[in-house]
Amino acid sequence: MIDVKNIHKSFGDAHILKGISTTFEKGKTSLVIGQSGSGKTVFLKCLLGLFHPEEGSISYDGKIYSELNSDQKRNLRSEMGMVFQGSALFDSMTIMENVMFPLRMFTKQSKSEMEDRADFVLKRVKLEDAHNKMPSEASGGMQKRVAIARAIVNKPKYLFCDEPNSGLDPKTAIVIDDLIHEITDEYNITTIINSHDMNSVMQIGEKIVFLKDGLKAWEGSKETIFKTDNEVVTDFVYSSELFKKVRQMYLEERQ
């Protein structure tokens, strides 16, 4: 479980996060949504420990990040998996080497043990035939699946995804969303996804945190987001014609 209490983050005069508090539960897929510039990426980077909030605290299963020493922080980070927006695969390594990388860095496993584990997670993301390919030879969807495999290979407790289905076609995006959701269930991990894709919200949003101008504007789930009257949320959700129609149908049904 990740507990965020009143975090503030500024860059110079720009006050990006203005006191966000929320909780992300274990075994659930949580989505942080909001418009571009709402502070989602800064929020995620604070959760990852890449940015340090000036105020407030973030605790991971009771361990407050700012109170840990550098070794403890390093250990905590090795329990985190991250799927970057652009996949961030190491382009000098094959897909197999990319997936084995966290094992090489943090475990004392033999080469064959590492290969077995990497093989297992690559099968899990349905990439059993791509071991020796370079990242540049893989499609966008494949790269995302490799990034997921690399993020889960060392059995993390926390999985973070920054817009994991951006730049993908709708069908592949659904495959990626489902994969993340299944992995969250299977490994019972705390998963947080940054997104502005409403399809993802409908598909896997067990918990949704809506950010607006660096503040938490709303919190709920995929079931409640279409029922809320919060104007900030409805403005965002019903900006597309499709969701406007869904909303209309819902209101007509209610009448």
Binding site: L48, G49, L50, S70, K73, R74, N75, L76, R77, S78, M80, M82, F84, Q85, G86, A88, L89, F90, D91, F101, P102, R104, M105, F106, F160
Partner: protein, 245 residues
């Protein structure tokens, strides 16, 4: 203020380069890869430039000796001194700032742009140690490159001298052996080690701390070349003053 900030950030990067070392089994592979990219990969261009510039130094020296009172062996002597003292350690380092420096900046800069450095940091890896330290160790073999540059420069001079008919082989060999001061070699290698450190760290700094996209990677490579060259020239002056005067 920006300059001061950057100088401070550079020295903090140097300190971080030695902190939280990467696992030796991983680091060993990175070092061998960087030796291949930075040292072995540079031998061809260094050999080519050294041989022909050695020849040019010889021709220029020979053509400027017009007095019949000046002995012909002076051509070999002047070539040796120019190559050992300045051409091999300094001129080749400027060439390497362009070749190796821009490679380091663009490869690390691209990793920054594509979030690969963020990926390393998220995993709890000291990205500066992982990326910069192997380059620093690989470039400790840089004196080997400079030794080859010295040898080929003198050989190029010899070829130009004989085939251009500027002096005889005997005169040239007497010239390159005359008044040899072993400390000049020590001086050249001290400079080489210092320049190797500069070549590993300044381009890494410009790549690691760059911001932006593909265009900025190109700009960072150019800036890195300028600052590496300026630093090498300044340090060359300071070291020459300290060691030879």
């Amino acid at each position: 203020m920006t300059y001061l900030h950057n100088i401070g950030a550079y020295f903090i990067m140097i300190k971080d380069m030695f902190r939280k070392p990467t696992k030796w089994s991983v680091m060993r592979i990175l070092i061998f890869k960087d030796i291949d990219d930075l040292i072995i990969g540079s031998l061809g261009i260094v050999a080519f430039i050294s041989f022909f510039v050695g020849g040019v130094v010889t021709i220029q020296t020979a053509l400027n000796i017009t007095s019949p009172l000046i002995p012909k062996y002076l051509v070999g002597f002047a070539t040796r001194q120019s190559i050992i003292l300045e051409f091999a350690p300094t001129f080749i380092s400027i060439v390497m700032a362009g070749k190796v420096g821009s490679f380091i900046t663009s490869s690390i800069g691209t990793m920054r742009v594509t979030e690969q450095i963020d990926a390393l940091e998220v995993m709890g890896i000291n990205a500066i140690n992982y990326l910069v330290f192997p380059k620093f160790i690989a470039l400790m073999l840089y004196p080997f490159v400079i030794s080859i540059a010295m040898f080929l420069g003198i050989m190029g001079g010899m070829a130009a001298c004989i085939y251009g008919g500027f002096s005889t082989l005997d005169d040239y060999i007497i010239g390159i052996q005359m008044d040899f001061i072993p400390f000049h070699i020590t001086y050249a290698f001290i400079k080489t080690f210092v320049f190797a450190f500069v070549l590993a760290t300044i381009p890494s700094f410009h790549g690691y701390f760059m911001k932006g996209g593909a265009l900025e990677v190109g700009k960072a490579s150019t800036t890195s070349f300028v600052w590496t060259s300026v630093t090498i020239i300044l340090l060359n002056y300071i070291l020459t003053q300290l060691l030879l005067s």
